[in-house]
């Protein structure tokens, strides 16, 4: 403060107008800085995975969990076949009207849709086997059944894979109890 040293009055380097501009600049920068520090520029929309890439399997501890992961893999496989996202296919299969709209927009018929869903179901069996979540003893008959399954049933399996595993257990009869044990 040279003014004080020289014995004169200390003067602001800016007039009221300059102070007003400086205060406005400071307030703006403070607000922008605070919001940036609080994550104001960090939002990114949730990434939608490529359905053709393998989806990691966690250890299923029950039939329900196995069915859950199986449905996810099957949806991925069918979506990959059709060249759409898993999310779009899931919404399309929610009801009959949505399915018809989806098929019309994609320019496909029921046969093509069935073929894609069957491919998805077979991929789910492959994924389950690869992850060690399903024994080849179950996988082989499952695959041959799924390759011929009608469209409506294929969609039902995507909705709830539990029925499939329950059917397999019933089909295996007394050996069906082994299925639960075949889960890792």
């Amino acid at each position: 403060m040279s003014g004080a040293a020289g014995g004169g009055r200390w003067r602001l380097p800016l007039g009221p107008g300059g102070l007003l501009v400086a205060a406005a600049t400071l307030a703006s920068l403070l607000l922008i800085g605070a919001y940036l520090a609080a994550g104001g520029a960090s939002y990114t929309p949730q990434e939608i995975r490529d359905p053709c890439e393998p989806r990691p399997w966690s250890d299923p501890r029950s039939l329900a969990e196995l069915a859950n992961q199986f449905s996810s893999s099957a949806l991925d496989g069918a979506a990959c076949e059709l060249g759409v996202s898993r999310e779009r296919l899931a919404r399309a299969l929610a009801d009959e009207r949505a399915r018809e709209r989806f098929a019309r927009r994609l320019g496909i018929d029921d046969a093509r849709l069935a073929e894609a869903i069957r491919a998805g179901l077979v991929r789910a069996v492959d994924d389950a086997e690869e992850a060690g979540a399903l024994s080849p003893l179950v996988g082989v008959p499952l695959r041959s059944t799924l390759e011929r399954i009608p469209l409506e049933q294929a969609i039902e399996l995507l909705r709830d894979g539990r029925t499939l595993f329950e059917d397999v257990r019933d089909f295996l009869g007394p050996a069906g109890g082994l299925l639960e044990r075949l889960l890792p």
Partner: protein, 453 residues
């Protein structure tokens, strides 16, 4: 008639007309749902009024010089009131837009003529210019809150229908002036008109574009993005006029116009950048940026309007130029910002639908429940017609199984958070663009040679 009631009536007329450029902002979502129009269509309810006001301001000022300001103001207010009634009973978007154009033309006549009438009631040209600018700023600032409250408590039609009696109340004292003018046939002398203040008017246009965009986008964010009711949104955006009052007081302590205009433009730009960078979907976080925009708009609009009018005659003509500049700015702001925002919100909606489905599909609930939830979510999104939905109802009834129930409750919170953050993010580019417009106004403010009063 004494001077004071006439000055009050003129201030009411100016406030009422300029409030109309923003009064309808909070009613827009109701209007576009009611009249089956999109955001772009409904934005023309705002744009048409401001465009008509901008285009008619100068011809209206010339008419006031030729016909007499009292008669021009009275006729303008009558047209404004009549068109307000037509807006209130409009059954289609096109009828509403045509009526809004008539309102704009009538409003332009009333506002520019008022500037010619005010010096006789106030005592000085400078006092008249200050009252005129203050009445306009108050109207523009209070407009959204009043409009939002009326929309919520009565209907969007009430916003227009109530303008008619208010306009007629303002016109009554002015009729005496009109009668005198017609009896004496004395109209103001046709003094030569000086050139308008280009830099101040250009800066006014740019700042107005930024402020209009701020208000329009903030209202859409609050109502469409965060699902606030119009009255709650009105309460939130009241922070801006409240801060503008403070800005007016600060401005009164600083005489030179250039630093006031500079500080105001910086604050408007800073506040808009803050709105672009909201870290969370929380109403409280909009208050600091709104405070900056409010203080900034009071500083910059009054400084630039005073500069554009200072020492220039006739006042009505130069007032016409400032009205034309401000409302042309509003129109440009809305025309540029609406498509930008609409494409952003459409993209955000697609992202939100996909993100929502992904969250559901990855949840640890049964596949059957997943597809059911995806179905119900799609249904909610369709029913909300483009609005970011309240997704709670899509999750009801909650599953009976305790594990599934806990997972679904967690899922609901996660999903709503995704949607809210996505909706907030959809406004980022538009707010940033508006901030740049505000900042760009510093160029004409800096270049102006005659900005000092």
């Amino acid at each position: 008639m004494t001077r004071r009631p006439r000055a009050s009536a003129l201030a009411l007329a100016v406030g009422l007309v300029l409030a109309d450029s923003s009064v309808v902002v909070l009613a827009l979502p109701e209007i576009y749902r009611d009249l089956d129009a999109g955001v772009t269509g409904a934005s023309w309810v705002l744009i048409s009024f401001n465009l008509a006001l901008a285009l008619a301001a100068l011809p209206a000022a010339l008419l006031a010089r030729r016909l007499g300001p009292g008669l021009t103001a009275a006729l303008g207010l009558a047209a404004f009131a009549g068109a307000g009634l037509a807006c209130g009973v409009a059954g289609s978007l096109s009828t509403l837009i045509v009526a809004r154009c008539v309102q704009g033309v009538g409003g332009a006549a009333a506002v520019t003529a008022a500037l010619e009438l005010l010096p006789a009631s106030v005592g000085s040209e400078r006092g008249a210019a200050r009252l005129w600018a203050a009445a306009g700023a108050t109207g523009a600032a209070l407009g959204p809150a009043v409009g939002g409250a009326l929309t919520e408590l009565v209907s969007w039609q009430a916003v227009f229908l109530l303008q008619a009696p208010a306009a007629l109340a303002a016109a009554t004292p002015i009729l005496a002036v009109a009668r005198d003018e017609m009896a004496t046939r004395i109209v103001p002398a046709g003094a030569p008109t000086g050139r308008p203040h280009l830099a101040a008017n250009l800066a006014l246009a740019m700042v107005s574009a930024a402020i209009a965009a701020a208000l329009f986008l903030l209202v859409l964010l609050l109502i469409e993005g965060w699902r606030l009711t119009p009255i709650a949104a009105a309460a939130v955006v009241s922070a801006m006029p409240a801060a503008a009052l403070l800005g007016g007081r600060i401005g009164a302590r600083v005489a030179p116009a250039r630093p006031r205009a500079t500080a105001g433009a910086i604050l408007v730009a800073g506040g808009l950048a803050g709105l672009a960078l909201l870290p969370k979907a929380e109403v409280a976080l909009t208050l600091p940026p709104q405070a900056l925009v409010g203080v900034g708009l009071a500083l910059v609009l009054s400084a630039l309007t005073e500069t554009a009018l200072a020492g220039r005659a006739p006042q009505a003509i130069h007032g016409g130029w400032t009205i034309a500049a401000r409302h042309a700015g509003v129109v440009i702001g809305l025309l540029v910002m609406t498509p930008l925002f609409v494409s952003d919100i459409a993209e955000q909606r697609r992202d939100a639908i996909d993100a929502g489905t992904a969250v559901i599909l990855d949840a640890r609930v049964s596949p059957l429940l997943k597809l059911e939830l995806a179905d119900r979510l799609t249904d909610r999104l369709e029913r909300e017609q483009g609005r970011v939905p309240t997704i709670g109802p899509a999750f009801e009834p909650l599953p009976e199984d305790p594990e599934d129930r806990a997972a679904v409750v967690r899922l609901r919170g996660e999903l709503q958070d995704q949607l809210d953050r996505g909706a907030t993010h959809a406004f980022t580019a538009s707010f940033l663009f508006a901030a740049l417009l505000g900042l760009a106004s510093l160029v004409p403010i800096g270049l102006a040679r005659e900005v000092e009063l």
